[in-house]
């Protein structure tokens, strides 16, 4: 049943958000720490479970697959409701800070990617 897939996905998200909020409380920060990440790992674990009881039927998988396919349209909707005017109208300092931060972060990707691969070669 499609609803099983949707329910499984929703269950993973709720548990993940719960864990993320709880972790935020424990650390004393006013933010959700890794809630989506925990939910993703949970979904991965549950859907990769090597047990006959938890094997998902193709129709159940559609309940997850639909939302996965809706990802790009949802991101387009997200882009359409960003505060672009706010970002552009607060003066140069905010824009310069944002631009340089992004440029520096982009430049670090190849450096770190090499470090990661170096580790794998050594092991």
């Amino acid at each position: 049943m499609v609803i099983y897939g949707v329910a499984l996905l929703s269950f993973c998200m709720l548990i993940g958000m719960f864990a993320g909020d709880l972790l935020g409380e424990v650390l004393g920060v006013q933010a959700n720490v890794g809630g989506v990440g925990v939910a993703m790992i949970l979904l991965l674990l549950l859907s990769n479970f090597d047990s006959r009881r938890l094997t998902l039927s193709p129709i159940t998988e559609q309940g997850v697959g639909f939302w996965s396919a809706m990802y790009i349209p949802i991101v387009v909707a997200m882009a359409a409701q960003q505060n672009v005017v706010g970002a552009l109208s607060s003066g140069w300092m905010a824009i310069v800070a944002g631009v340089v931060a992004v440029a520096a972060s982009f430049a670090m990707i190849p450096v770190l990617a090499r470090v990661g691969h170096g580790d794998q070669d050594a092991s």
């Binding site: 935020g24 933010a31 790992i41 909707a77 882009a79 505060n83 706010g86 800070a97 430049a107």
Partner: protein, 254 residues
């Protein structure tokens, strides 16, 4: 009368209106992609860029902060692209991701988050100093804003920064998130962003969930779960480090 009824139906069924609106937007974008650019620029990249342009137009015409979703007829776009459905769809992309890649990149992924927060913070703080800010609280808040637009206000509130400084930190974070969305597909080939491993590092370094979500969608949707996985920890780590260790660090220098 016809238009009145149509408007009433559209706002009463906001989310459904948003589906039609976004569907049409995506369709136009893929048409532009295949005809005007001959497929060289990905349709989703164009769709996201058009979305941002519409958000800019919406902000200008309504004076609100929620882009096109501030137009009453398109309020449903706010629901469709809001945090709840966004996170729901991101979690769904994990379905079918490779567990082994995630395990292998665990350490470098964690490293990239901390380095990403530090890097953006230092850059933001240095820019603040260059623009004449000397108050450690202001410099820390703006540095935190350069991490993400959530870390900025959380840090500013914790340290007691004034509201105009907090607004600046949000603007720095917004600039970052918009730029990551637009810039990622353009620089992806040059920085080697084409493997799940690189996407994990990218997510950790960039950290802005919306930026990473949009940037990877426009580059290669199969990389989304890997980037999103690390990005989701970034804001938490930023909120943890900025008002504490990083603030103390700033006070050493100022």
């Amino acid at each position: 009368m016809l238009l009145d009824v149509l408007g009433r139906v559209m706002s009463a069924n906001g989310l459904i209106t948003a589906f039609v609106f976004v569907g049409a937007l995506v369709w136009v974008s893929y048409l532009i992609s295949s005809t005007l650019t001959r497929g060289r620029i990905h349709g989703s990249a164009i769709a996201i860029a058009l979305g941002l342009v519409l958000a800019w137009y919406g902000g200008l015409s309504t004076g609100g902060s929620r882009g096109i979703a501030d137009l009453p007829l398109l309020a449903g776009v706010g629901t469709m692209g809001g945090a709840m459905l966004r996170d729901f769809a991101i979690v769904a992309t994990a379905f079918g991701a490779d567990l082994r890649t995630l395990k292998k990149a665990g350490l470098v992924g964690a490293m990239s988050i901390v380095i990403g927060v530090l890097l953006s913070f230092v850059v933001g703080a240095v820019v603040a100093v260059l623009f004449g800010y000397t108050d450690p609280v202001a410099v820390t808040t703006i540095g935190a804003g350069a991490a993400t637009y959530i870390v900025g206000p959380v840090t500013g509130t914790a340290l007691g920064a004034s509201s105009d400084i907090i607004a600046l930190s949000v603007a720095a974070g917004l600039t970052k998130s918009v730029l990551v969305m637009v810039g990622t597909p353009l620089v992806a080939p040059r920085i080697g962003l084409n493997t799940p491993h690189a996407a994990l590092i990218y997510g950790g370094l960039m950290g802005t969930t919306s930026g990473v979500a949009g940037g990877l969608a426009a580059t290669d949707p199969t990389l989304v779960p890997y980037g999103a996985m690390t990005a989701t920890f970034y804001t938490g780590v930023g909120c943890l480090l900025a008002p504490s260790v990083l603030y103390l660090g700033v006070r050493v220098f100022l």
